[in-house]
């Protein structure tokens, strides 16, 4: 398994509170991604990073921010959690940004916003 650790693995939080999810990799891969997975929607890209301090928005970025201060860590922050952000969040990494590049996924974080 690729060296990807997501923390926490499970979290329950209240509406309106900020939440930060962490993705830590030991592969020294340049590219890191945050996806959310919801029934009937598959996997949707939230934000991605193509280097330290280099990030960009994905398909569903509203209400989320990210930071990457070190190669190995990519943080996803829900600035003010809402019930619509209840989901399973997956971090992924890839060594290259070009085609034929395999993305390796973490185990996921199940977030419940009540």
């Amino acid at each position: 398994d690729a060296g990807i650790t997501q923390s926490p693995r499970h979290k329950v939080t209240e509406t309106g509170t900020p939440v930060t999810l962490r993705c830590h990799q030991t592969e020294n891969h340049r590219y890191m991604y945050w996806y959310r997975q919801d029934p009937g929607h598959g996997l949707r890209l939230i934000h991605y990073s193509y280097g330290v301090k280099d990030t960009d928005k994905g398909e569903v970025s509203d209400g989320y921010s990210v930071s990457r201060s070190k190669t190995e860590d990519f943080l996803l922050t829900l600035e003010s959690a809402t019930s619509s952000q209840t989901s399973v969040y997956f971090c992924a990494i890839s060594e290259y940004g070009g085609p034929n590049t395999e993305a390796f996924f973490g185990q996921g974080t199940r977030l419940t916003v009540v």
Binding site: G42, D56, F90, P99, N100, T101, E102, F104, F105, G108
Partner: protein
């Protein structure tokens, strides 16, 4: 806007059968088409992938068929086994700002019964 349409949503086959999962894409900029396999409680993992200049690719019991003119591709699983029971996602990859990005279909839950 869903750029990759996947069907069926769920599929039940008997052991030894040949499940077929179909995907259609809209974005002609896609140039890499991977399939990911996901078991419950785990992150997705790359199963097999194809480039649009190839019409078919086989890896073990898994085959991708690709029809560029129709903008469709499909996954066939030969001699399916109960251990193949999982959710399968097709995807298309294109060059976004700074990185190739994966756009996933909504997934197909496959159950192989003994």
């Amino acid at each position: 806007q869903q750029q990759v349409k996947q069907s069926p949503q769920s599929l039940i086959v008997q052991k030894g059968g040949i499940p077929i999962i179909n995907c259609a894409y809209e974005n002609t900029a896609f140039d890499y088409f991977p399939w990911y396999q996901q078991f419950p409680g785990k992150g997705p993992a790359l199963l097999i992938a194809i480039r649009p200049d190839v019409s078919e690719k086989k890896e073990g019991r898994f085959t991708i068929s690709f029809n560029k003119s129709a903008k469709q591709f499909s996954l066939h699983i030969m001699d399916s086994q109960p251990g193949d029971s999982a959710t399968y996602f097709c995807a298309g990859s294109y060059s976004g700002a700074g990185s190739y990005q994966l756009t996933f279909g909504k997934g197909t839950k496959l159950s192989v019964i003994p």
